[in-house]
Symmetry: D3
Subunit: 332 residues, 6 copies
């Protein structure tokens, strides 16, 4: 069952000193192109879907190389537009053992994407799609982007396309009043069918009340069920990361289903969440049973921590093999 999914989102350049070195210790960088949308689509391609990205890239070799990179990941670049000359860049100093990974951003606001506006996009790209993915970062960066994001969501609604929204709330990116931010998020949640969110999104961002004397799981279930009810959300997905274990959950207005706790082994941390998201979306679009779905999505998230880069590149077969057989030595 092949579905068509389109994402509206930023493409950034990730630059990493090789071999766990610090930036001042190297004179080469490994780079790739990334972004929440890119990552989720990459995962969905591995799962057999037809995937499209719509974004604005620099009108130069950096933008062309970005397109080539995402095509290689299996993403169609038909709806990418080009303009101006800047792209967001982040440096990743990969940690190991006791040393944490560190991410340092260069100017992200003035990128071709950051400065793009409604007139840059052709909404007919939504025709024939089954789902649209939007990331909360687009709401945060600049007002013009926020307008584009809402325009996409509304155009999708018109066409009865499922709207998938990943909250991805990062306070550091926001400059406005909290009430205004909450309002913006609520507007988007009202448009969304599927949402990726967690405890902090519900409490810190949306101010959902919760009885803190309850166990954590119960609290989480209550506030996310509340969110589903308040904004008419079909499903909320998310993960709990604790003690080097990952547990996925899936919430509707009436219940919560949780995956088994799965042991995490981290090779490349960034993009792990997007691996989970790809699995959840695939499971949703192909109508998996709830328990299987959330197990599968969590397995996808766990394996996304074991591959180089932010974009999931494990195949559906590998995920299913891992769900069934756990960690294996070698396959011939």
């Amino acid at each position: 069952m092949t579905m068509k999914i389109i994402a509206f989102g930023e493409v950034m350049m990730r630059m990493m000193p090789p071999n766990y070195k610090k930036l001042s210790q190297v004179d080469t960088l490994e780079f790739l192109y990334t972004g929440t949308g890119v990552n989720v689509l990459s995962g969905l391609y591995q799962m057999g879907h037809e995937v499209y990205l719509t974004t604005r890239l620099p009108d130069n070799i950096v933008g062309q190389a970005a397109s080539a990179h995402i095509r290689k990941l299996g993403i169609h670049d038909d709806y990418v537009c080009y303009g101006t000359n800047h792209i967001g860049i982040y440096f990743l100093e990969q940690g190991i053992g006791n040393r944490a990974s560190q991410i340092t951003y260069l100017n992200r606001l003035d990128s071709s994407f950051g400065k793009s506006q409604i007139s840059d996009y052709d909404f007919s790209c939504l025709d024939g799609m089954d789902a649209l993915h939007i990331c909360g970062i687009s709401l945060a960066l600049r007002e013009n982007l926020r307008e584009v994001a809402f325009a996409f969501a509304k155009e999708a609604k018109k066409r009865h396309i499922k709207v998938i929204f990943d909250c991805n709330f990062r306070p550091s990116l926001w400059t406005g009043e909290h009430d205004e931010i909450k309002h913006i998020y609520e507007e988007m949640l009202n448009l969304a069918d599927i949402v990726f969110a967690g405890y902090k999104d519900a409490t810190l961002l949306l101010h959902k009340q919760v009885d803190q004397s309850l166990p954590y799981d119960k609290q989480l279930r209550n506030i996310l069920m509340q969110m589903c009810q308040d904004y008419h959300i079909e499903f909320i997905f998310g993960t709990i990361r604790k003690d080097e274990e990952l547990t996925g959950y899936m919430v509707t207005s009436t219940k919560m289903v949780m995956s088994p706790k799965m042991r995490l082994t981290v090779f490349d941390r960034v993009g792990g969440g997007d691996g989970f998201a790809a699995g959840a979306i695939d499971g949703y679009l192909t109508h998996m049973e709830p328990q299987e779905l959330i197990h599968y999505a969590t397995a996808s998230g766990v394996l996304a921590h074991t591959t180089y880069g932010d974009s999931p590149v494990v195949s559906k077969e590998e995920i299913i093999d891992f769900m069934k057989n756990g960690k294996r030595d070698i396959k011939r």
Copy 2:
């Protein structure tokens, strides 16, 4: 005590994306030449023996580079012949953490080795040798190879050279009737002095009966002792890999000796078994005491998991140091 050992076996090219990446993520490959015979001989060279490979390689730069590579490992290439233009290749996507390593073979049957026949080899290369090593893969690939393998075993017998046979039974490589395969193996086992074999070889391949209500160790001992008796084998060696621990065993027609359980740490999985085999053969040829022998062989196998490549490259001193002192930090 330097012995002379010759192996008849395939040389393949192993190609690996660097840094745990997937093939589609790279544009360079690390490569080396490998094969059960190559690996066992490489280990035996490190232990002080004089080692020779007899095989057929492509008659082009790929074959010449293979010879150069095995010479670097310490293996004499005097008895390598050349012809046709193909070599077996496998791609290794190295796994990490929860992600398994994956091996993908290209055409192996039509290699220079796969198509070689008795007339390509000069059996006088056996003169003066102390032992001959043959791998079960040669029995599986093609009938012409099987003929060569038997010819070598019989010529060795004539010269009172010890015949070492590694079962290495891989059902996927065999296309014939099971009875026929069993018969072929039994013929080879009757020629062999030293055999590498395990539970599955005895039960699935050779149909040895065992009382499954016994503990695993007992079962193993019984069927392997049975094998020794049935085929007049001097020693059977093998390992049990469980819960990231390795235990070696050594069986005669009357008893079984086991190594201590040794904790495994895996850096490069492929060829670990060949490291054990090299240790066992060295121990056998240099007349170590059984308990020391099997401990030493297992230590050799454990350390073979910690070096790059399929071919063991740790020195005898390192193995003995590890047997005595366990894992150490740094040696100056």
Copy 3:
């Protein structure tokens, strides 16, 4: 003016020791996926066209990585099919100065492509295309492939799609009788609108007679004009490579147009001819004037010698800038 071009052709893996080293001097290889069709399409993508490859690739990670690679080059993989597990591989030892580059092939006949047949392909992929590209190598490798090639050419004819045929006659690949080979080529030439051919194709392969007392240029013109007439070919394109200079020509049944002689500088030799072909096809499809067309195609060929890999990756702008301004130092 964007056209749609599809090529039927082989994808091979090219493996190259880095930095002009010999195979026996390295333990890493730079690799990429290549083939006449791949290369021509890659060039046409850079010139603004929509390009498709139809072929059969191995049904494993090697085939998937091949698809990812050609997508990165801008080629659609919608019409690629998968089956069996082998791919043609060649090793390129890149020469420098007085030392020639050397190419060594491994088994090419038994590749997924080599063994593919008509039932593996869906000819509806031709619907809506403007041109089909076929390479003479497909005629040479195996009979089953030859059948596929002719089927494609005939299906294209039916749909009034231009058939582009690159003779690429390599005697070493052919095993049959010369008359039979000539006959096969003639059959294909009768189907073709645009042909890439040179002096040797006309004389050695097709036995065209020529007055050898004439200057080389005249001889060439006469036999190629003859070819155009004999097989109803619209245009024949080709190049003369002499004294480190390249001259392109374009021949119809009535005349020959030649480019200026352009100085060659060689960084990566393989695929230079495909760069010329891409330029010629672009010029033809976009109706350039003859003199401009052949100058442009030759400039494209010249620049294709200056980039890594077999597949042209210089942009149309770079080619035009080079035609106008010649060799330049640096562009900001």
Copy 4:
């Protein structure tokens, strides 16, 4: 004779695909930190001087790595300040043979340097210096930078420090009226003792009139002598690059001295001019004879084309050896 030279100027990051590849062909980049000031100081360090850079760098690991890099080049970072989080970046696709090198800039205006202002700098850093170097790029980028540049020049004048100004006029960087730009340059030229300038600076930028019927050399001499007179410049230095040869010149208000024509071989084009500048400044500060000085500076420029990176790294000994002995094979 060790002098103390300080430069005020931008530090950029240069990112280059290795091995002459295009950006879309690679996943690693070689990078370094560069800038006219950095390059000139690097050259002067090799010639035995004590050199300082004053600039503003990002207040993060990118800025720290920049400081570490310039320290490695021998430049003191005592007067570097830190603030905001962006740095100018350019991508260099290195050309070869017929293919030109291409430089692509990302956002340069909003860098930490681009947004720095007078209050970020401590002019006491000029105390005890012998010379100050300023590059015309600082005049072009933004008004705030222009203010800093003039403040540095005036503070240097007060302290009787030689002011060295490199015109480096790039029309594409300027957005204002031409008259205003001319005026700004003239103001700086009036402050400068030593100037790097050429034909276009004098005619296009400063509108110097010249009798175009004269030979090029004469024209050049006349307009540069005129510049020296008009702005009270001690020396103007520059080079003529033609037919893969480099000729240096040195002009006062009364005469012009030219170097021999020196054959250029280009390995890394960018920064060649800065190698010449370093040589000229060293010659000037150490009171070389005019003819020797301009030969030495040109040799320095020529050798700067043969090393990796924009910053000259050949030693004074190598330059002098090259002046005397020309191109040599090998030195032991």
Copy 5:
């Protein structure tokens, strides 16, 4: 509070096969310049101090590259002198898992440093310094070096500069009588204010008596307190490394303070002790509270095991973050 620290010590070249390979498996080496002094100063630079090395380096490109390398680490090279042409080199075969790292030294005695003598150094470099660091290796290598080390210590004493002495007793480096060695060490200890020493230094080297029936901690406290009293040492610092945990201690003539046990994760083992030393010296010079100081120093040591190279390159902020928050996933 920025202090000025100078170290007198050897600079060696460290050469390492990449990716955990053995020397015979590679044809490239990663190299860097290292030494106890270099490493301690590198750590102190990260903590905000002004640091200087005084040593003798080869008078050729190897020495110049060494200076460039240490400047990059933040160390001033003003007091480095140059002479003769040799440098100490060690090869590090990095172990992994069960395989130990192995260090192999080439000729170290005949290096430019090893052969340097008092007349090579200018003791005025001590003027204005707050502390001098000396390593026990300098006492061991050669008599001439020992003389330089004592001259530095005495000159520092004269100027009331704190003398920091790292015992670093390696029996294999010493050739003389034990009594003489003991005497030399005692002479240096009498000059030292701060000492890095452990159980073996006190017992094997200095023959301190201890009641072995006491627990290890008590024994250690008693003999180190005894050392403080005997040689009038202000503080002795050191670590206990056991069961993959590190515990730091700090001893005066009257008490011992211990850090919490901190779990070790080893990425690059060499230089871990120097990371501890840098932390301890920083804590001492900036008057941290004892408990905080030893915790901080141990955290610094623990993190020094997680970065490439012998020289600590983690920032003070990272150390403090690790002390407070422990191991973290990712920091943005």
Copy 6:
């Protein structure tokens, strides 16, 4: 016609910054093992001979890796002995264009080879050999080595083995009186059958008189013929390198034969002379005709400049193809 050749000579480590960078610009080095004997034997292996090296290497991993490296080149290591721990190292900064290559030696005198003496070698290794190669460097380094060299030459003489001596006179390596040096060389020349020598060896070293009014070729012929007569040398070989062209010569006591002038293209300069030597020795041992021999040897020398490393790795087929067809583009 396979001959057996043994060389007595030094093995050094060559370390080179990759990609034409300077040492201070890199943190990795490409390394290999080299030496005149190694290089000549490597060339002779490619020409089909059985080759052996006798030398002393460090008794550690550096020595073992050296053995592995030379085995890879095709050289037997049966007669290598091991002792002490040092090896000669040189750094090669490879030049390009106008910039010369620079070689910097570290301590070479105290290497395992440099300190080896007669008792370290077993002269029975000469039994059955056809030729012995000795290099003048062994005469220069130390007296003990000189003794070994003479012992080898005399033992070879006894066995009627051809003695090949490469003068390789480098004044900088010698410390003694000139007369003594001349005497030592003359003693060796009296033992030698085949000698590699040139103009400077004859005039500066051996003080042969020559009529300087003659053309250079004539002078050269006269003094080398004189040498042949004076020391009873069968053949003297050498090359003239001028204007990027190489000409080989071969002299007996009665005549001189010269090769055609061959254009040089330099990729890796070091070891070019050893490529010529290998060709000359092969030609001599296989009884080529003089004119063919010297052409072949010169072609071998020319091609040795086009491969990475000091040791020739082009095959005999490539040399012959180059002799016949000159520079070629590509070979399939």
